[in-house]
């Protein structure tokens, strides 16, 4: 890599330490901006969760009032979905996709920068809404009308309007990003990289992008109609005085979940992609059933568009619709199961290295499997009638979203950190991070299953003394949330120690002896990524390269 020239061409202020990040159109820097911003919002959303768990730690809690609690749960959910998981996946995708396919950058670098800055703007709008008239939105992250309408007894303040504005901005950001990913993946793969030689994470990002394009317009439309109801005197959702007259509240539920369920897979498919990259590398084997894993990604995406109304089983849709959506929801378990069995088979007879990315990946399989299985209870709609909107649901989706997605994100962060920054995060702290998070997570969310079965409904700001079981489970859950917070603090300290104290060891191109092209570039990669790209003859170009070198040395 040539030393960066200072006077080759006039760049002026754009070369500054801060300014160069603000004006960058380099996919790697944009990716890191995405990831950094998402981690910042992750900390904020986590803080809200800790306050909620403090409030619920014991019966009749007095940490926050009811209105504040509703704001907390709304902002926690909205932030985690729109400002943490979806954008951090875009961040990983931005950093990794061009490197993995041997490209120099994304197809539209400026559009890419626009996507990031729209995301940052959306986050700022959403979080400044705390200071708006009436406080932040407090109708939950689904914002079902009429609670989210402008009636004085519903959501009269401006928090809901800022929520809508933020969703619009973030939707735009996601759609632009999705177009960029699709064009990049379709057109910029290095010679030899056919579809069936593409890294599985790239398959996941392709599917992520397609789903974003299909799902995002639905929520854009829903919140536009909501905005018109609130500010424009329409009645898309507000029913009339006579039954059957006026708007339909069930319509909003359909529109929201038509987006909302694919959104779940928008968040989880890239996580699957990361796991599919990491497990083979740390098992020292190729992925078991590459085609099955790739195609099951597409199958999940296809079926994810057909299951939305399983969020609405209690809305009284009728047995016909409920039955259809039960079957479609169960169908989606099949390709998901295929992935889990393929990951397991990948570890079979491997040489398993327990580095932190692998620990988090194993944690992912263990917890995601549990979250997937509790989902079967919820797909069976008569059982869902019992469990829906109770803490069982909260437990279920946190096993998927935290036990699944967040564990995969930490696996990905520890795995690609040396590639992004050229230094290794401390492995001992990483293991502390894993064990604290694994124990803290299970303490927080396992008892919630029991609470839901006992009849505790979600989104209540407090509960009276219902006896020892309720108090014990809630207490364990709140204590677990503190452990989880400590585990994240360990991660932040690890970053601080590695970079600001410069304790992290420098690494070469390929510290993990990995399979995919990003490890062919230097760590961190130069602005142009590759001086040359090796010819691709399989899905594991670096493993091929190592073998070639070995054979050459043997001669």
């Amino acid at each position: 890599m040539a030393p960066r020239s200072k006077a080759a061409y006039p760049v002026g202020w754009k070369n500054g330490r801060v300014a160069s990040w603000l004006v960058t159109v380099d996919h790697k820097r944009i990716g890191i901006l995405y990831i950094g911003t998402s981690i910042f919002f992750f900390a904020l959303a986590g803080l809200l969760a800790i306050i909620m768990r403090a409030q619920l730690a014991a019966p009749n809690g007095h940490v926050v009032g009811p209105n504040t609690y509703n704001e907390l749960l709304t902002m926690h959910g909205t932030t985690m979905v729109f400002l943490v998981v979806v954008p951090i996946m875009a961040g990983f995708g931005n950093f990794l996709v061009p490197l993995m396919i041997g490209a120099r950058d994304m197809a539209f670098p400026r559009l890419n920068a626009l996507s990031y800055w729209l995301f940052a703007l959306g986050g700022i709008v959403l979080w400044l809404s705390w200071f708006s008239k009436g406080g932040a939105a407090h109708a939950g992250w689904w914002s079902y009308p009429t609670l989210s309408e402008a009636m004085p007894w519903a959501s009269p303040g401006h928090g809901q309007d800022y929520w809508i504005l933020a969703i619009h901005i973030l939707t735009l950001s996601s759609i632009l990003g999705a177009i960029n990913f699709i064009v990049t993946i379709h057109n910029m793969r290095t010679p030899g990289m056919t579809w069936m030689r593409m890294p599985l994470f790239v398959w996941a990002m392709e599917t992520y992008a397609i789903l974003l394009l299909l799902a995002m317009p639905a929520i854009s439309a829903a919140v536009t109609l909501l905005l018109l109801d609130r500010q424009g005197f329409t009645h898309f959702f507000i029913p009339g005085d006579v039954p059957g007259d006026g708007g339909s509240l069930v319509l909003y539920q359909h529109m929201f979940w038509f987006f909302g369920h694919p959104e779940v897979y928008i968040m989880v498919l890239p996580a699957f992609g990361m796991i599919s990259e990491i497990i083979p590398v740390f098992s020292r084997k190729p992925i078991f059933g590459y085609k099955a894993v790739a195609i099951s990604t597409l199958a999940i995406a296809f079926f994810s568009m057909l299951v939305w109304a399983h969020h609405m089983f209690t809305a009284g849709l009728g047995i016909g619709l409920d039955g259809f959506f039960m079957i479609s929801s169960m169908v989606i378990a099949v390709p998901t199961g295929i992935k889990i069995f393929n990951w397991l088979a990948t570890t079979w007879r491997g040489n398993i290295q327990f580095d932190s990315p692998m620990l988090f990946s194993i944690g992912f399989i263990a917890l995601f499997t549990f979250g997937g299985l509790t989902g079967i209870f919820l797909a069976a709609f008569p059982v869902d009638w019992q469990l829906n909107d109770s803490y069982y649901i909260v437990a279920h989706f946190h096993y998927v979203a935290f036990g699944g997605i967040v564990f995969a994100l930490f696996a990905g962060l520890y795995y690609w950190w040396p590639k992004m920054f050229g230094r290794m995060l401390d492995e001992r702290l990483a293991k502390w991070n894993f064990w604290l998070m694994f124990i803290g997570f299970n303490m927080t969310f396992l008892p919630m299953h029991m609470l839901g079965l006992l009849g505790m409904v979600r989104r209540i700001y407090t509960y009276p003394d219902h006896g020892a079981l309720w108090t014990t489970y809630n207490g364990i859950s709140s204590a677990g949330s503190v452990l989880t917070a400590i585990s994240v603090a360990v991660f932040v300290w690890n970053i601080f120690r590695t970079h600001l104290l410069r304790k992290g060891a420098r690494v070469g191109n390929d510290p993990w002896l990995a399979d995919t092209l990003e490890w062919y570039a230097t760590s961190p990669p130069p602005p142009h990524n590759f001086d040359s790209v090796p010819a691709i003859t399989s899905a594991r170009p670096l493993a091929d390269l190592r073998r070639t070198l070995e054979e050459r040395n043997a001669l």
Binding site: P66, N70, Y144, A154, F288, N351, F354, D389, G455
Partner: protein
């Protein structure tokens, strides 16, 4: 070090599992003790699914633990590769087809149980009674066949099918009495239907399950099952106690038990409490002040209902206008 840590974690998980099993008998791992046929069959479906999912759970987690134990590196260098196996079509077909069969069985069981859960049993001896249920911010109102009403407490005869016609005038709520079956949303502009049949005398608590605003947590309900209490309530008690029910179930949530204020303002000395016309205006249309809003909590109330509240407040809440003028 690593081994110690994993033993510790296993111990913690084992302790958690034991605690879970210990509590299973009184409501830790199973839904609330059912007291209605639909709830019974829901619990049956629940246990069938537990059976299948527990099998898959132990299979997957067992294989995971076995593999990471058996194939751990044991100090082997990273360069040592495992067998370069790329797949095995027959295995992959097996783990595609078996889940399909399991899920098909679960779906079949659910559909087989469904008629007992979704539909009330065809009555042999007695006709069902129909109750109109209205979810309001933040209380439940029940209307009986003879027009009597109650707040938050629903009286029903034991052993008789109760059909519920569920709706709401303001926001979406969700009706749920865990022992008496699943939830149904109370949606403005729409009437949803559910049913239960209390098998034993008793009081069955429940709570609104859909976020409905600031006091969602206070929106509780209970079903009292007893032929005698039902007869007494719809016969004469309704007229005598409705005012008190309205005060404690509707007004006191925000204004405090004695009207001295809480989330809402102190109203104990507000003379509107004893002026039926002014009170009707507020109950029917709400109050939209700069300091906050009061929902139109009584928008579906009858005149008699409002008068009952006035009578109750006059006797128990209203403390007279403060000296020196009106508030």
């Amino acid at each position: 070090m690593r081994r110690k840590l994993s033993i510790f974690v296993l111990a913690v998980l084992a302790a958690l599992a034991t605690a879970g099993v210990a509590t299973a008998t009184n409501g830790g791992l199973t839904p609330v003790q059912p007291a209605s046929p639909n709830a019974h069959h829901t619990v049956t479906a629940y246990w069938v699914i537990v059976g299948f999912t527990a099998f898959i759970f132990f299979l997957v987690e067992g294989l995971l633990i076995a593999f990471i134990w058996k194939y751990r590196s044991r100090g082997r260098a990273r360069t040592v590769e495992g067998p370069q196996v790329h797949g095995q079509t027959r295995l992959e077909i097996i783990w595609t087809v078996i889940p399909v069969i399991i899920l098909a069985v679960i779906a079949a069981v659910v559909f087989a149980l469904l008629p007992n859960i979704a539909d009330a049993p065809a009555s042999s001896s007695s006709t069902p009674i129909t109750i109109n249920v209205e979810g309001h911010q933040f209380y439940w109102q029940f209307e009986y066949p003879n027009g009597a009403r109650s707040i938050n407490t629903l009286y029903v005869p034991t052993g008789r099918v109760v059909d519920l016609e569920v709706t709401a005038p303001d926001v979406i709520h969700s009706w749920w009495i865990p022992a008496l079956g699943g939830k149904i949303q109370a949606i403005p502009g729409r009437v949803n239907h559910t049913w239960f049949m209390a098998e034993r005398d008793g009081t069955y608590p429940g709570q609104c399950a859909e976020l409905c605003g600031v006091y969602h947590a206070a929106m509780t309900a209970s079903v009292v099952a007893s032929q005698a209490k039902y007869d007494a309530y719809v016969g004469s008690e309704a007229a005598l106690t409705l005012g008190e029910q309205e005060w404690t179930g509707v007004c006191a949530t925000c204004h405090g038990n004695l009207g001295k204020g809480g989330y809402g303002p102190d109203i104990s000395s507000n003379s509107v409490l004893v002026q039926p016309a002014a009170l009707t205006q507020i109950l029917r249309h709400g109050v939209y002040g700069t300091a906050g809003a009061m929902p139109p909590v009584g928008d579906t109330w009858t005149k008699a209902q409002i008068n009952a509240l006035v009578v109750y407040m006059k006797r128990h809440i209203y403390t007279g206008a403060p000296v020196g003028g009106t508030p």
